[in-house]
């Protein structure tokens, strides 16, 4: 391992939040290095075929995979300031000297010494316990999206979707766009968690959404050949008779949890906030954590939507540039904050607002 790579801002994760932060900070002249563990930039955006909601400022009405292109094009304008490493993961932070180790591919390592670090590492999928949940054919919803929407591979013939949140509903529709049959969508809760518009799209096509139902087991010897499902009562106890479902893929859309191991490693103050779906760093409104050189944005800060991740990325990009002493557009703070607030208004934003109430502090003072 030879030289240590110096950079103003290290952005870990080239998805919705990370790319937005890169675009913002690069426009003020910061030298940025982006590490992306996948083979290409764009994160979850490139897997979305549906048109986004929300505000025009966050590209509402544009399909997810095209939004990634828009942000990448913006970065292109300041490309001399942005260095991108794909297939490269940040694997460690050393508190004593502020060095980050990165792994490129499976075998090659290098070191970075950034002045500021943004963790825009996104989320990882949850799994639920049931017999045979490790059989090939039990896939995370994100994995199914990668397979079919990024690489154009047919995931299977017939899919049982577990979870009727937005991801379960959207991926069910995406599977149908790819010509795959949906056996059913299961939801343990008595109501659909995702937006009605997504649910209506698949209901109109005749897909059953079975509320108060859970998966009891996956069937099959070496790969998934079916599943057993059963009804639940209000106390989530099994009732009625178990039913066999014919399927060759079981897709789990049972939630995400923030990915933020390196924030733990850096000693950032972390807090378990159930509304944000796991442990998250305590941060101020400009997304700075308790460590003066670490920022966070997007799902790593708490599970929310891509639109919010993009704005958080902007705010973090702005704040890191300011912390570097660069001349920034101060009024952008207010503009971005207003957009975030507007996304989080109303009933749909209640959970997030409540979670932020626990994870956000007003000011770090001299810390």
């Amino acid at each position: 391992m030879s030289e240590i790579k110096k950079t103003d801002i290290l952005i870990v994760g080239g998805g919705a939040a990370g790319l937005s932060a890169a675009a913002e900070a690069a426009s003020y002249g910061a030298k940025i290095t982006v590490l992306e563990s996948d083979l290409h930039l764009g994160g979850q955006l490139v897997k979305q075929t549906h048109k986004f909601f929300g505000s025009k400022d966050e590209h509402a009405g544009t399909r997810g995979y095209k939004i990634a292109d828009i942000i990448l094009k913006e970065i292109e304008d300041n490309k001399e300031n942005v260095e991108v490493h794909t297939n490269t993961a940040a694997v460690g932070f050393y508190k004593n000297d502020g060095i980050v180790t990165a792994m490129s591919g499976e075998e090659s390592y290098f070191k970075l010494q950034p002045k500021k670090i943004l963790m825009a590492t996104g989320a990882q999928e949850r799994i639920i316990p049931f017999p045979n949940n490790d059989l090939p054919g039990v896939y995370g919803a994100g994995a199914v999206q990668t397979l079919m929407n990024v690489y154009g591979v047919v995931p299977g013939k017939k899919v049982l979707m577990v979870g009727a949140g937005n991801i379960g509903l959207i991926v069910s529709y995406q599977l149908m766009q790819a010509g795959v049959e949906i056996a059913a969508v299961l939801e343990a809760l008595p109501k659909i968690g995702g937006y009605w518009v997504h649910a209506a799209k698949i209901r109109r096509l005749g897909v059953p959404i079975l509320l108060r139902h859970t998966i009891k087991a996956a069937l099959g010897k070496d790969v998934v050949e079916g599943a057993v499902i059963q009804e639940l009562n209000d106390k989530f106890q099994l009732i009625g008779e178990p039913k066999k479902i014919d399927c060759d893929v079981i897709c789990l859309a049972v939630g995400l949890t923030p990915t933020n191991e390196m924030l733990w490693q850096a000693g950032c103050e972390m807090k378990f906030v159930s509304q944000l779906c796991g442990h998250v760093p305590v941060r101020d409104a400009k997304l700075r954590t308790s460590h003066p050189d670490f920022w966070v944005a997007g799902d790593a800060a708490g599970i929310e939507e891509a639109s919010a991740a993009m704005i958080e990325g902007r705010i973090a990009g702005l704040a890191m540039s300011e912390a570097l002493g660069l001349k920034i557009q101060q009024e952008n703070y207010g503009i971005y904050q207003e957009r975030l607030d507007s996304l989080r208004r109303g009933e749909a934003g209640e959970k997030i607002r409540c979670g932020l109430g626990m994870a956000q502090i007003t000011d770090w003072g001299n810390k």
């Binding site: 995979y65 591919g105 990882q124 490790d134 039990v138 896939y139 995370g140 994995a143 929407n149 154009g152």
Partner: protein, 111 residues
């Protein structure tokens, strides 16, 4: 390969077709795309056999985080095939157990 033939929204632009082997069988895939995706397109769903319980495993997260898709690639065990690009002539094998340290080979570029 089991590829999506027509899609209402997306157009897939694949790279060059390359040959690789899976457990000695010749297969075709697209250069630079993840090994795991190429295998799935070829109908291969079992990527490794677990060390303790001898259970078959395929991929799960497809973003390089869960370790489910570890395989032996060109003699190197525990390769995350969901984020490792496919190249011409790659030798991909089902991994049984924890894998063994590859001896007598040139590894890495950590000079």
């Amino acid at each position: 390969m089991q590829l999506i033939k027509s899609h209402p929204i997306l157009e897939f632009s694949h790279g060059k077709i390359v040959k690789f082997s899976f457990d000695g069988k010749d297969m075709k895939g697209f250069e630079g795309e993840p090994i795991a995706m190429a295998l799935h397109a070829n109908g291969v769903h079992i990527y490794r056999i677990t060390p303790e319980m001898k259970r078959p495993r395929g991929f799960f997260c497809a973003i390089g985080k869960c370790s489910s898709c570890f395989m032996v690639v060109d003699g190197v065990p525990n390769v995350r095939t969901c984020v490792t690009p496919l190249n011409e002539g790659m030798k991909v094998e089902t991994q049984t157990g924890k894998g063994t340290v590859p001896l007598n080979m040139e590894v890495g570029n950590n000079e």
